[in-house]
């Protein structure tokens, strides 16, 4: 039969939901149903996609069930009846399982939803972190890629400048993945490493097409880059040898995502000119979708530029001839059969020679050691943070899934008890023990698969929420439930089904051997007690408590961080950035530009104060500098790492940071006048506890001059409240030879933010129409951004905690109601014999005993689990009493509620009725 329907392309979840229908149905009615379902829901049901999905899935399952059970209507007179299919045992079990589910909709719903919560949380976290951390680069043979690193135990005589990632651990060992350009050249000439290539990040480029400037990120790449990775162009061509020659016409490549999002996939763009920080470059091609270089996932470039343009674009001098500047990441291919150790041995002499050419006097022992690391995931250093976060969230989600599994196991146990008579009949009719286990397992696996299906919906929502939260912080995440995530969900569902089905199935099947039909009716005391279920309940309560304590700790942490005294006033301050180097301003011109912008800003209505600086509080970065302090009381020789900020005269006033002694910076502190600094109180306390600060001098490591300390300001938190107060030195921005590029303006204002932000753009345009204003945000939003990891953690663990609570509630309620049901008979007898209601209540509530044991075990578990969280907490202990009490209290409250309803039911039992129940 030809497909009756046309032009309906199902979206991902529709395709998924349609799987609920039998294949025969899909072939004949599938597309038609989708079309009608869309138009009907659009017109009649308020367009709710959720309800539409539920409708599709439910009716699909019902259709399938009807087909399975052969419950066709009686009338098929003209159709030759197909002879009954030979049904395998599995099909029989499946059919039976569906019938069981239909007969027990409440049980099925609770089981499926429990698992959906657990599986959904796990799938969401898996797919997010999978795409961030574990996805091999989309290049040719990624497993052959080798990423170079170096490590050193000390910095004696190692006078190099590094831009890029450096990690110093507590033991004094440092490592970095930045190298000097001459080292790459040496590698290109030697044959130690195949296809050696390098790249460096170029953050915040001014990418201008015509009149429109936008900020983008780029990678500078070396000649062998694309050859080594085996990338083919999507449109146009790649960068070729010619483009890397000195004096060649500048060329630039776009990533597919950038081409699509900014230029709407315009084919005509190829061959046109794009200005990159004022350098006119020809767009020669577009890279294939999905390829975003070998840098950090989550920090992706928009353009690729040949290395030869480095000095013209970054405006900080030509790094290429400098063996002492380490700024390039270097990768290559490891030939098959060569071990990393062999490669390291071959590369070390090349590296040592390169270091020596910069530092001929360096002692042998001080030469850093080269290390070869797998490069298949690209650079991962800055992702270590995420890896830890992913592991923690994954562990919490795993616990929630475990709770859900325990829940289901418990439900299945209870059901197994209720079905003893049925199972006994089966056994007596000749079903083997294995056969019974198989049937029970089929049911639990089927439940788990249904749970997994709904779990995908849960995962989708969770992911959308997480991505929105992360994107607000500038971390680019993509949420995609792709084949890997589906596979994960399927695997987790199967595992969960087996895990929670096997115990009860074996338990029930074994029991069947002992008990017989005649005893199966009354549900004697042993059966009612369900010892195995009580163990499961204990485990569940313990796990829930651990998740809840963790959630409470994160919520308290975020509260503490927001309440912490930062030392400055963040309210009514709007920030934005400009970068004079983008429009290639010289030093003096840049200074005039910045002052001009400040003047224009002050003219805007509602503006109270304006300052600008290199760093702002909670800005995410700090720059530290070695500062030598004359007469310092610390007794330490040589430079000490100190926060250094270049500020305009009114910066401190804008943040309402008080001046404690001496004078503040003024417009008179400019280049040519006496070099001065204002230090913070922490600096003064550290170096001059006697208070004798003013008039002393400091020397910054890059400057040959002494600067006089003319004032002391109040302390304020530069990074985030978590890092607290550190010694800081404030230098007049006008006295620094060059600022590092972007400058942040802080504008204190009255009135609505919206008006101000458009005013800001007009003000800057009046000074330089071609200068992009970027990252307009409030200081509050800046703080939010600095705390994003904590916020995501608090939100996510709170959600998981809620899920755990919900599951615990369902589990407790289910077990208690079941126990009351089983003991109605007994309760009736007791009441007929004159037992008090209080006595009956006590009888039922005694069933809550596992809760108490679970709480104790959970507390012990929390004590261990929260140790791992210590580094993420702020202002509280891992076993913070408030958090622990809150968690225990919540769990107890839920247990009380879950116990209350069944207990009441028991207390209301009419003795006569109860005795009649059989």
């Amino acid at each position: 039969m030809t497909s009756p329907v046309k032009d309906v392309a199902p979206c991902w979840w529709e395709r998924l939901a349609m799987l609920a229908f039998p294949r025969r149905f899909r072939r004949t009615f599938g597309a038609d149903l989708l079309g009608v379902s869309r138009s009907m829901y659009r017109s009649a049901y308020g367009g709710s996609e959720l309800r539409r999905a539920a409708d599709l899935i439910v009716s699909g399952l019902r259709t399938r069930a009807e087909a399975f059970f052969g419950r066709r209507t009686a009338a098929r007179p003209r159709i030759p009846d197909r002879s009954p299919r030979p049904v395998s045992a599995i099909a029989q079990d499946l059919a039976f399982a569906f019938r069981i589910f239909r007969r027990n909709p409440g049980f099925t719903l609770v089981a499926v939803l429990s698992l959906a919560i657990g599986l959904g949380a796990n799938t969401a976290i898996f797919s997010l972190f999978d795409s961030l951390l574990f996805r091999p680069l989309p290049v040719h043979a990624p497993e052959e890629l080798a990423l170079l690193h170096w490590t050193t135990d000390g910095w004696d005589g190692l006078e190099i400048s590094i831009s890029g990632w450096v990690n110093r651990n507590d033991a004094g060992r440092s490592e970095s993945s930045s190298f000097a350009y001459p080292f790459l050249e040496a590698l290109e000439e030697s044959d130690a490493l195949h296809h050696a290539f390098g790249f460096a990040r170029l953050p915040s480029l001014n990418l201008r097409l015509g009149d429109e400037s936008r900020l983008g990120d780029g990678h500078l790449i070396s000649r062998a880059y694309f050859d080594a990775l085996g990338i083919a162009p999507w449109r146009g061509r790649l960068l070729e040898s010619e483009d890397f020659r000195d004096g060649a016409e500048p060329a630039v490549l776009l990533t597919h995502a950038y081409w699509r999002s900014r230029f709407n996939s315009d084919e005509a763009l190829i061959g046109t000119e794009l200005s990159v920080n004022g350098v006119i470059a020809v767009v020669v091609g577009v890279l294939p979708p999905g390829f975003v270089g070998v840098g950090q996932a989550g920090f992706e470039p928009d353009v690729f530029v040949p290395l030869v343009l480095q000095s013209r674009i970054s405006d900080r001098g030509d790094h290429r001839g400098r063996p002492d500047r380490f700024w390039l990441h270097v990768l290559g291919r490891r030939a098959p059969g060569v071990t990393p150790a062999q490669l390291e041995a071959a590369l070390q002499p090349v590296f040592a020679q390169s270091v020596r050419s910069a530092l001929p006097e360096l002692a042998d022992a001080a030469v850093p050691r080269l290390e070869v690391r797998p490069g298949r995931y690209g650079m991962t250093e800055e992702r270590e943070d995420l890896r830890f976060a992913g592991m923690l969230l994954g562990a919490a989600a795993g616990m929630v899934l475990l709770i859900a599994c325990v829940n289901l196991a418990n439900l299945l146990m209870a059901r197994g008890q209720a079905r003893r008579r049925e199972l006994a009949v089966r056994r007596s009719l000749g079903a083997g023990g294995l056969r019974v286990v198989q049937q029970l397992l089929t049911e639990s696996v089927l439940l788990a698969l249904l749970g997994g299906l709904f779990g995908l919906l849960v995962a989708r929502w969770l992911q959308a929420a997480l991505v929105a939260e992360a994107n607000a912080s500038g971390l680019e995440l993509r949420a995609a439930l792709d084949a890997r995530a589906m596979l994960f969900a399927l695997g987790a569902s199967l595992l969960a089904g087996l895990l929670c089905g096997l115990g009860p199935a074996l338990h029930v099947a074994r029991r069947e051997l002992q008990s017989t039909l005649q005893s199966a009716s009354a549900g004697g005391r042993t059966a009612a007690r369900l010892p195995f279920s009580r163990v499961l309940l204990t485990v569940q309560v313990a796990l829930s408590l651990i998740v809840l304590v963790a959630a409470a700790l994160f919520v308290r942490t975020i509260q503490n961080l927001y309440r912490a005294d930062t030392g400055y006033s963040a309210d009514s301050v709007v920030l934005f950035n400009v970068d004079p180097t983008l429009n290639r301003y010289g030093e003096a011109d840049a200074r005039r530009l910045l002052e001009g912008i400040e003047r224009e800003l002050r003219r805007l209505p509602g503006v109270v104060e304006v300052g600008y600086s290199d760093l702002v509080p909670a800005g995410g970065t700090i720059s530290t500098e070695g500062v030598v302090t004359e007469g310092s009381a610390t007794g330490e020789e040589g430079p000490q790492s100190t926060i250094l900020n270049a500020i305009s005269p009114s910066f401190l006033d804008t943040y309402q940071v008080p001046l404690l002694s001496g004078r503040g910076l003024t417009a008179e502190d400019r280049s040519g006048s006496a070099p001065v600094v204002v230090v913070n109180e922490a600096f003064a306390r550290r170096h001059f506890p006697g208070g004798d600060v003013l008039g002393r001098s400091v020397v910054l490591s890059d400057e040959p001059v002494e600067r006089e300390i003319v004032g002391v300001s109040g302390d304020f938190a530069y990074v985030s409240p978590r890092f607290g107060i550190r010694p800081a030195v404030h230098v007049p921005i006008a006295q620094l030879a060059s600022t590092s590029g972007a400058v942040t303006y802080a504008v204190r204002h009255r009135g609505p933010v919206e008006e101000l932000s458009s005013g800001i753009r007009t003000a800057v345009r009046r000074v330089d129409a071609g200068l992009p204003v970027f990252a307009v945000r409030t200081q509050r939003a800046q703080l939010d951004m600095a705390l994003v990891r904590e916020r995501v953690f608090a939100a996510f663990s709170g959600g998981l905690g809620f899920g755990a609570l919900l599951l615990a509630c369902v589990g407790l309620y289910g077990l208690l109601s079941y126990s009351v049901l089983r003991r109605t008979h007994e309760i009736g007898i007791r009441m007929a014999l004159g037992a008090h209601i209080a006595h009956i209540l006590r009888l039922v509530l005694r069933e809550l005993q596992p809760v108490a044991i679970g709480l104790v075990l959970g507390l012990i578990g929390s004590w261990f689990a929260t140790r791992a969280l210590e580094s993420l907490l702020f202002g509280l202990d891992p076993m913070d009493p408030i958090a622990v009490v809150t968690a225990v209290g919540t769990l107890l409250a839920v247990a009380a509620i879950a116990g209350w309803v069944p207990a009441r039911r028991a207390a209301r039992v009419e003795p006569v009725e109860a005795l009649r129940t059989e």
């Binding site: 149905f25 009615f29 009608v36 009907m40 009716s59 019902r62 087909a67 066709r72 009338a75 007179p77």
Partner: protein
């Protein structure tokens, strides 16, 4: 969740047969016509309509109209009643009519 059945077929099947007895109809049309016929008392969701259609197709009471036989809206699929379906519908209608008449007569007494 007891199924409402009349004789050997479900009430909803009977209603769909009644609608299709008027002529070929597409899925959405069936929903609307059913609602009309019953004064808005029968309101089917899309998933359910097709579940019923599938069931009735499997048992030979209805069938899709092959493409091109109707020069109506090309974008939708039409379904029509089969001979077997018509027989069942008529039989059920007669049965119901008889019973209804007796029932109403008793009510009005």
């Amino acid at each position: 969740m007891a199924k409402q059945r009349i004789g050997s077929i479900r009430q909803i099947d009977f209603l769909v047969l009644a609608v299709l007895n008027e002529g070929p109809m597409h899925g959405y049309g069936i929903v609307q016509r059913l609602s009309e016929m019953t004064g808005g008392r029968v309101d089917l969701r899309p998933g359910d309509v097709y579940r019923v259609l599938y069931r009735m197709h499997e048992s030979g009471q209805i069938e899709p109209v092959p493409d091109g036989e109707l020069d109506d809206d090309e974008r939708r699929s039409y379904y029509r009643i089969t001979g077997a379906g018509r027989e069942i519908a008529t039989e059920q209608a007669e049965l119901l009519a008889g019973v209804s008449a007796q029932l109403l007569a008793r009510e009005s007494r």
